[in-house]
């Protein structure tokens, strides 16, 4: 159950939401979860660009690795972040 319905003395239905799950159709929910696939089914979608897709996949892998490394770094995370930021700003 995603909500508790309280009826006020004026007869108004007031909900206290305890979960924020969409109740939209399964088909649409799928589209939300797989939004790129949903859009790329159109023939002339920008999401069918091979170079872009490779880049995006690459970034996805980097992100997953980064999150694992973050866990390992623990307290050192901020120092590493500062260091990487310095690298990113070189020459700007």
């Amino acid at each position: 159950m995603s909500q508790e319905v309280i009826t006020t003395k004026d007869g108004l239905k007031v909900r206290k939401l305890v979960s924020l799950k969409p109740s939209t159709s399964e088909e649409y929910r799928e589209a939300i979860m797989h939004r790129v696939d949903h859009f790329s089914q159109k023939r002339d979608s920008v999401f069918n660009n091979m170079v872009e897709n490779i880049l995006v996949k690459g970034l996805e892998l980097i992100l997953e690795t980064k999150i694992r490394v973050d866990d390992l770094l623990g307290d050192q995370k901020e120092t590493v972040q500062d260091f990487i930021e310095k690298l990113l700003f070189i020459g700007l």
């Binding site: 995603s2 909500q3 006020t8 004026d10 007869g11 108004l12 239905k13 007031v14 909900r15 206290k16 939401l17 305890v18 979960s19 924020l20 799950k21 969409p22 109740s23 939209t24 159709s25 649409y28 929910r29 589209a31 939300i32 979860m33 939004r35 790129v36 949903h38 859009f39 979608s45 920008v46 999401f47 660009n49 872009e52 880049l55 995006v56 970034l59 996805e60 980097i62 992100l63 997953e64 980064k66 999150i67 972040q81 990487i84 930021e85 990113l88 700003f89 700007l92």
Partner: protein
Amino acid sequence: MYHIDGTDYLKQKYYKKTRSICPECHEPIDAEIVEREGEIWMQKECPDHGYYEDKISSSAKYYKWTHFKKKDKDGNVEWQFLKDGETNPPDCIGDDPRGCPYNCGLCEKHISTCSLALIDLTNRCNFNCNFCYANVKQAGYLVEPTLEELDRIMEHFRSKPIPPPAIMFTGGEPTVRKDFPEICKMAKDHGFKEVIVATNGYGFQRKNGKGLEFTKECMEKGLDTLYFQFDGINNETFEKTRGIKNLMSYKQRVIDNCREAGLSSIVLVQTVVKGITDIEVGNVIQYAIDNIDVVRGITYQPVSLCGRSYSEDDLKEMRITNADVIKMVDEQTSGKIGIENAWYPLTTIVEFGRIIAYLADVEPVEFTCHPDCGFATYMVVDPDTNEMVPIMDYFDPIKIVDFSNRFWDKIKHKEKEEIKFFENILGDFGKTLDKGVNWVDKQQLRARFLAGMLQYTKKPGKLMEMFTRILLNGEWESISAFTHGTLLISSMHFQDAYNMNLERTKRCIVHFGVAMPDGSVYEAPFCTMNTLHRPAIEKKVAKKAGTKVMEEFDTTKGERVLPEQEVVHNGGTKKEE
């Protein structure tokens, strides 16, 4: 929790001097913003009309956070939520000795560009809400710009060096105009990226296929978004706010017709009134989530107290602030959209937005209003739980804001001046080569920015992918895909004469445009227009209203009974007998 927890800043009492206006005579006067018992208040004294006070925020802690200045070790401000905006050349030089806000038009002291252009299409309406200023019947005259005048206003906005990317048609009820679809087309032809209508749903809800046909036609002509008056999900609530019974089926028909027509960008707009609509805040969120295929956002608008004098007790009784709204959202969602972690002032993303606009080659949207004007949170679906969560679960927002600000500081000169390395050596011939150099430069900047964003991303998932795609191709399709199935929830508190802070008005980013009889266009910030300038301006542009116009939507006498609607005869809040 906020990064100011445990700091001395929180222990100090907030105090700031500013300027406001007297609620009685509207003359500009000095005002103080002070902290009192965990709240923030405005105090001011008019030499002729005495002392006034009004609540600005019901949470001093939240308010102080939004006014926090992050400083470096030498005490220089590194960033704050109060941003200085870009400016367009002024339309007038303010010569009224009273100064702001009597020099609107727009004067040289205004320090933001317009992000959202507003045009009142008509003061006719099929409703007769008791707190509404736009009503042909009560005014006794018609305010309805011709197509030629509308063209002039749109031209005025779009010909500015930094034009507003979005336009919203307001009223009255804009869709009572038969030429409404043509007006949407005109806006698209003028280059507005986003065409929005503030509507009670009139044109879109009509039965027997008419509403659906109308929705499709508007979409084809260029309408993108409905800013849809939506006070709650209970008929009783609408009856109190709009004076009409059984309005929910009317509202639902709008949603259904938009769904069928494929118009999937509806923003539910709830006017938050104490004791009437405030208990429906959570209901509206649930409704939005249940209709997430067509609803893109919710805007809460704490009611502004315009149009008459309010006593001190009235004010205390009726005033709702943005902080109250976000507390209610917190309470009514069992803390899932919490005041302590989900909400940020709109100005938070100024630098971030500028970077995206520059790197993705899209028009910037400048949210350089005052931090008190509005707060927002962005809800996305968590793929693991299929539940909507604030985007802050994915990113470390403060770190990203910090990084974006520093990044923009380093690259902003490039936006103004492209690299001209080869042109300087080879003249015109070098221009083509420089194009290539600039392209490569942007690619390396994109890579750096993405790498920075990755640093502060906490969870894997589609969001980072969508963000990357916007940056890589800058296409509308990427932006649509990003917003697909997401919900932007905001709370926008428009000012009235009691709480007007001239520091806010001069930063306003939402501007009305009015075609004046002398051929010029008058541009004024939303809050000063509604609080001060509207009566005088409307008198100048008013047209005589014929009997047919006066009677067409006269709901005040209950003569015209809409199907499934019954007008409450006092034409407004139904008073208990």
